[in-house]
Amino acid sequence: MAQITLEDVSFRYPGATEDTLYGLDLQIENGEAHALLGASGAGKTTMLNLLSGLLSPTSGRLLFDGNDVSDLPGRERNVAQVFQFPVLYDSLTVAENLAFPLRTRGVATDMIDGQVAYICSELSLGKIRDTKPPSLSLFEKQLLAVGKALVRPDVSLVLLDEPLTAVEPKIKWKLRQTLLKVQKDLGVTMIYVTHDQTEALTFAERVSVLSAGGILQTGTPTEIYQSPANEFIGHFVGSPGMNFLPCSAVPSTTGDRIGFRPEWAALVDEGHVDGTVTRVRVYSTQDSKAHGLVTLMTPHGEVFVRGNAEFETGMKASVRIDRCVTFQGGNRVAEIAHV
C-alpha cells in the first residue's frame, strides 16, 4: 500500500484550450479511505485516469510513497480499479475469477490458493466460490469485483469508481460496510469516486470536493458538512443543501451571507425570518408526529427546515436559526455553533 501525493498537478487534453484539472495539491495517507466528491463534469474521471496511469499530468508530479510515478505506465503502478458495473469473467467461477489476476502474473499456485481463500473469507464469498457470475446477484458480482481488485498482495492503491451505482438503494449500505471492513483489515489505500454526498461522507475518513477541475476543500466528513469552505460546498453537500440568507437576518453576524443546514433551524412563532409554508414532505414520525422537510417562501427566497412537519401549505411560520456559518464573497468566515 502506498501514500499518494499530488503536487500541483494539472491536466489539459491535447488540443483543448483550458485545463480539465488545475493546481491539484493533495496528500492521501497510506491506508486511508478517501473520497473524491463532485458532480459530473467536475473532473473525477480524469483524475482517476491520472491515478491509474491511463493519462499523465501535463504539469506537476504524482508520487506513490515519495516515488515519482507521473510518467509510469499503469501496469507498473499496481493500481487496481473497481468500476460502476462489475467486470468479471462469466465462464470462470468466483474462485477462478479471484485467481485470474494472480495467474496472469505468474504467482505460485499455493500462494494463489492462500490469497483466494483469504479474500473469500474477508468478503464472505465462501458459499459461492464455485458459482459462476451469471448466477450471482448484482451485489455478489460487485463484491467479487472488489475481491479481484484486492487479491493482489502488491496492490498499492484501489480506485473505486461509483461502485454502488448498480446496487439496489436498500443494500448499498451493506456493500459500503463490507468495503470499509476490508479496507481497515487490509490497510488498503482506497480512493472512492462519487457524485453522491451520502456515500462520500459515510465511506471516507477524508473527503475532497472537486468542482470545475479544482479541489475546493479536503477534510473530514464533519468538517465538510459543518464547516464548508465556501457556499458552493454548503449547497452541494447536504440534501437539500444549505439555506443562505443575508447576514442582516441574524443579529451580530459579520460577512455578507449566512448559511445554515435545514436541521440547524426550527419553525417557531417568532424567529429570525418569517415565511409562508409552500411545501411539506413527511418522511417519518417522531413521537407519533409527522417529521420531515418543510419549505417556506421568505423575503430572501426559499428556505428548507427539517424537523416537525405538522404544517400545511399556506401557513405562516418563522424560522429560528440555531447554528450557522458566515460567508464573505462566497468563502467561509466563521462557524457559529450557537446563534
Partner: protein, 318 residues
C-alpha cells in the same frame, strides 16, 4: 382514472389484484428489483409482457388497443431520444405524429421546454447533452404527447445526486399541475415520500398495500410492507411471543423523556456511518442485525456496547 383488474404480473401469481390510479395524482409504485414494476408499466403501455389482466382507462376497456392507440406515454430509466433530431424536434415529435400545425407545435414544445429548463438547448442534439439534460428531454417528449397516463419507470436512477434532487422538485410541481394520471416506479422509499400522493407497494408480483405514503408508513398491514418503506430495513425482535418490529428512526440512543414506556436493548456496535444530517449505527441486538438512525452527527465507537431505547408507541406488532 385508470383501473386495473384481475392483474397477474407474472405466471407465478395464483390470483390477480385490482388497483385504481387517480387523475391528477402521482402514484409511486414501490418494490424491490423483480417485484413486477416494469411488467406493470409495460402492461399499461400495451407492450409485450407476461402480465395478464383487464385495464380500463376512464371507463373504456383498452386491453385490445395497440400502444399507439392508447393515451399512455412511458419514460424509461435509460434516456431514449431520437439521436438525429434536435432537442426541439424531439419534443415536437409526438405533436407531429398527431399532425398538429407547425406554429402550434412550436409554441407548445417551447412551453414544455421552458418548464424543464431546456430553452437554451433547443437546437442541440441529444449526444451533446449531459445525462440529466437527456432525461429531461425524454420527459419533455412524454409531456408533449399529453397522454392521459404518464408512466415513469425509475426515471432518475442514473442521474447525478444534485440533479436528481432538482428534478424531483421540478417534477412534482410540473406533474401535479395537470390532470394526468402519473405512475412513478422506484425501489427507493424516499421517492414515495418525496413524490407520491399515493403509494402502491408491490412484492413478488403481488399488491401488498396502497394508500397515502404517510398512512401506509403509520399502518403497515404486514412486516413486508413495513420493510419496503423502511430505510434501509426494520429492526426485529420477539416480544411477548409476537413478532415485533421497530423502524431505525425510532431507535433512540438517549431518551431523556422517562414518562414514556420504553424497552431497553443492548447493541454490540459493528459499524458507524454519518451522512451529515443523520448518523447510522449498525450492530447486533441478540441475534438480529439492527440499525439505528439518529438525527445529526454523533460520536460512536465501533466495538462498544450501546444501550438503545425503544418506546412502546413506536413498536409495530404482527
Amino acid at each position: 382514472m385508470l383501473a386495473l383488474a384481475n392483474l397477474r404480473l407474472n405466471a407465478g401469481c395464483s390470483e390477480g389484484f385490482s388497483h385504481t390510479f387517480l387523475s391528477g395524482q402521482i402514484t409511486v409504485v414501490l418494490g424491490a428489483n423483480n417485484a413486477g414494476k416494469t411488467d406493470m408499466c409495460r402492461f399499461i403501455t400495451g407492450l409485450s409482457t407476461p402480465a395478464r389482466g383487464e385495464i380500463l382507462l376512464d371507463g373504456e376497456d383498452v386491453s385490445s388497443m395497440s400502444p399507439q392507440q392508447r393515451s399512455v406515454s412511458l419514460v424509461y430509466q435509460a434516456f431514449v431520444n431520437y439521436p438525429n433530431l434536435t432537442v426541439l424536434e424531439n419534443i415536437e415529435s409526438p405533436l407531429r405524429a398527431h399532425s398538429a400545425p407547425a406554429a402550434a407545435r412550436l409554441t407548445q414544445a417551447s412551453d414544455i421546454a421552458a418548464k424543464l429548463q431546456l430553452t437554451e438547448l433547443l437546437h442541440r442534439l441529444p449526444h451533446e447533452l449531459s445525462g440529466g439534460q437527456q432525461q429531461r428531454v425524454a420527459i419533455a417528449r412524454a409531456l408533449a404527447k399529453d397522454a392521459r397516463v404518464l408512466l415513469l419507470d425509475e426515471p432518475l436512477v442514473n442521474l447525478d445526486f444534485k440533479l436528481r434532487e432538482a428534478l424531483e422538485n421540478e417534477l412534482r410541481e410540473l406533474l401535479t399541475a395537470s390532470n394526468t394520471i402519473v405512475i412513478y416506479t422506484s425501489s427507493d422509499p424516499r421517492d414515495a415520500f418525496t413524490l407520491g400522493d399515493q403509494l402502491l407497494l408491490l412484492d413478488n408480483g403481488r399488491k401488498l398495500q396502497s394508500g397515502s405514503p404517510v398512512d401506509v408508513y403509520r399502518n403497515p398491514n404486514c412486516l413486508r410492507s413495513m420493510e419496503l418503506l423502511a430505510d434501509p430495513f426494520v429492526n426485529r425482535f420477539l416480544g411477548d411471543g409476537s413478532e415485533c418490529a421497530i423502524r431505525p428512526e425510532h431507535v433512540r440512543v438517549d431518551d431523556k423523556d422517562h414518562s414514556q414506556a420504553s424497552i431497553t436493548f443492548e447493541m454490540q456496535v459493528t459499524a458507524f456511518e454519518t451522512s451529515g444530517d443523520e448518523s447510522f449505527i449498525h450492530g447486533q441486538v441478540a441475534d438480529h442485525d439492527w440499525i439505528a438512525r439518529c438525527q445529526g452527527m454523533k460520536e460512536i465507537t465501533v466495538g462498544s456496547k450501546l444501550a438503545l431505547h425503544v418506546r412502546e408507541q413506536d413498536i409495530v406488532r404482527f
